[in-house]
Structure formats: C-alpha cells, structure tokens
C-alpha cells in the first residue's frame, strides 16, 4: 500500500478497486493521459453507496453539505488518479488544476467554501503535492441533479 493510501486509511477512507470505480456516463473515458498529465473527467458528488448526492446550494444544501459533497469528488478523483498510476499513488507528482462546479441558486456566493471540501482533503492527504490551481463557479444544474462536479488535471511520473 502506498504512503498516500496509508494516510487515507488514517482518515477512514479506502479507495475502491478499479473494477468498482463509477463508469463513465457516456462514450468517453474516466481519464485520458497525454505526456505526464492525466485529465480526469468530471466527478459528481456521490453517497458511499455510489448513488448521486443530489442537492442545490442556496436551497436544499448548506455550505457544509456542499463541502461534504465536494469531498466525495476528491476521493473519486484520487481513485481515478490511482488507476492512471497503475495502482501506485506514490507516482502522483502534482495535483495541477481543479475546476469545481457548484449546483446553486443565482444568489449563492460561497462557491470557494464548497470546493474547499475537495481542496482541503487533497492537501491533507498529499501535502504540497496536493496544492493545486483552481476555479470554483456555479452551474444552474448538474448531471442527475448532483450538488457538485469537479474535474482535475494530475501530473504523474
């Protein structure tokens, strides 16, 4: 087990095996590698049983709910990164960039606090390797009605 998964384990997080990873909802791939960059498809917020975590910030979801939703995206991004690394997350060199989309009402203004749920976990687990560039914006709606969708670019060795 990699050092990174050791840290995940101390937080009670176990990454699912590759065969249990959520499937792409269409004719595309969960991630594509070009050079040493891995582009991971948008990961939607999910409950522990993999069902979509549905909610709208400014309406049915508090900022804390949203941050918890973003945290589930972080776990899925790490899971895809692990598969891209052939199972060895110690090959992860850098989280380069995240783009976070928050399902919200038009008057919601705390997108950064929501996406922090993802950023904070990545930095907690990965340290400086996890400190990424980021955009956080709202969307009027997201696939299946989920609260958060986050895509990522990772540099691997």
């Amino acid at each position: 087990m990699s050092q990174i998964e050791d840290k995940l384990a101390t937080l009670g997080i176990t990454l699912p095996d590759a065969q249990d990873a959520p499937k792409a909802a269409g004719n595309y791939a969960p991630f594509v590698q070009s050079g040493n960059l891995v582009y991971v498809s948008g990961q939607i917020s999910r409950h522990p049983d993999d069902s979509p975590m549905v909610g709208k910030l400014g309406a049915t979801f508090s900022v804390e709910d949203g941050a918890a939703a973003a945290r589930t995206c972080a776990i899925q991004l790490l899971m895809q990164a692990k598969i891209a690394c052939g199972g060895d997350l110690d090959r992860l060199q850098k989280v380069v960039k995240l783009t976070g989309f928050v399902n919200s009402t038009p008057d919601f203004t705390d997108q950064p606090k929501v996406i922090n749920g993802c950023s904070d976990l990545l930095v907690e687990i990965l340290g400086d390797v996890g400190r990424h560039a980021r955009s956080a914006v709202s969307a009027p709606s997201l696939p299946l009605g989920v609260a958060v969708e986050i895509e990522g670019i990772f540099e691997i060795s």
Copy 2:
C-alpha cells in the same frame, strides 16, 4: 483525403475548408498549440448554414435536440483540429479532453445525454483515438443563446 475524412464522408459529413471556418467572436484564436497539444476554443452549436443553433434544454429543446446540437460542435472541433494538423487529420493522436456546456433551465439533469451527441460522433469517427475525458455541466445561458458550447484539447503529432 485522410482515412478520418473517409469515415466522415460515409456519414455524409464534409469538413469545410479552412477559409470557411467560423471566425472567432473576438480578439482570440480558434485554437492555440502548445507542445503537441492543441487547445480549441469553445465551439457553439450551429445550423448547416453556420447560423447559431439557439435553444434551451428543459424549455425549447429536447434531449434529442440537444444531442444534435452537440454533434454540430463535434464537427466544428474536428474542423479546427484539421486546420491545426495542417489539413491532415491522420496526424490526430488523441482527443484528450472535452468540456461541454449545456444551456438549460435549473431543473435539467440530462447534461451527459446531450454532450453524448459530441462524444458519440468522435468515437464513431476516430475509434479509441476519440475516447476522451469529459465534463458536462449546465450554463444558464450561452453566447447568442445557443444550446451547446464545447471546447476541446487534442494531441497531434
């Protein structure tokens, strides 16, 4: 004519010549290359006569209408990729990443089925080369009121 354009022809699709490609709607470029990656600007859904394909999912456009709109974005992305390849699409190595924006009402949740209109065509034409990472999200509105806007990253040789 490249093998890829042969396949396009069997679907009745002819890529316009470079000089007939839609112009950028501002002080920017239709695409920029850095290393072997080509970043193609957001392509808006268009009718065969190049006029904008206006619509809103959840209101005036069905999922099928939206998928057809996304398909027109795929053709324009391929056209820009062809220009980036100096006219020879066989130099296209990989569709790396798409980001698809769907003009929709706040209660619309089928963004993936809409953007599939683009993804399906790319995979049909390009096979595994066309299997990309992807995000699909809603926007409350898009340029000129179009139904779909999709940007892409392509790896070329």
Copy 3:
C-alpha cells in the same frame, strides 16, 4: 522592467508586487506550473482597492461594465504570470487558453463581448503572444457575487 511592463505602463497599469497579490480563497495555489505550462487559478473581477467587483450581466451590469470587469481579470492573470516567471514577464511565450465565466441572468447572450475586455487587453499588451484559445460561458452566480471570473493557461520559457 520588462518590455511588457513598459507597455502596461503606457496604459497606466502597474502590476502589484508579488506580496500584494490577492491570496487564494482556500487551500490551493494562485498558480501551478507543470512543464512549461502555468495554470493560473480563476481570477475574479476586482476594484482597484482589491475589493470584489460585484455585478450581474443582464441585471445590474451593462456589457461595458462587464468588459471592464473582465479587464481587471486580465491584469490579475498577468500579475500571476509575472510571479510564475520569477518577475520577468519577457519569459512569457504564449497565452494558451482562457476560460471566462460571466455572472448573468438566463437571457443574457453577449458573453463574448464581456470576455473581450480580457482578451483585448492581453492582445494589446502582448501582441500575437497574447492571442489565445478561449471559451466564454455564463454562470448563474460566482464567488462573492463578482461579475466575471477568468482562468488561464500560459506557456513560459
């Protein structure tokens, strides 16, 4: 002072020192470099005193207001690029890609004219080096209620 900052000076624009750059609103970095690409986090529109420039296109902000807001994002993107270049903007090789998010009502359709406020300044200052690929879309809301958020990818030497 670099040639680029000379041009900025002729427009009355002075880039702030690195220590005065706006801080990231969370556990992330203002930019991350991978290879010779610098990914700059989404920069929100700001007044000269750094307070957020709040507004909504189609409601409280005209297209001209929005373009002025986007111009402030351009200055901040350049400032981050300067820091990434170790203070020497002449190392900037190319503005590769911008993604511009416009805080707007659902009936607003002039996103490109708004984001032109950023694109025009970059091309005015940088010439062909500044001519980037771009997407311009709406968001129903943005962090702190700002009118515009723009992220960028820059190639440096």
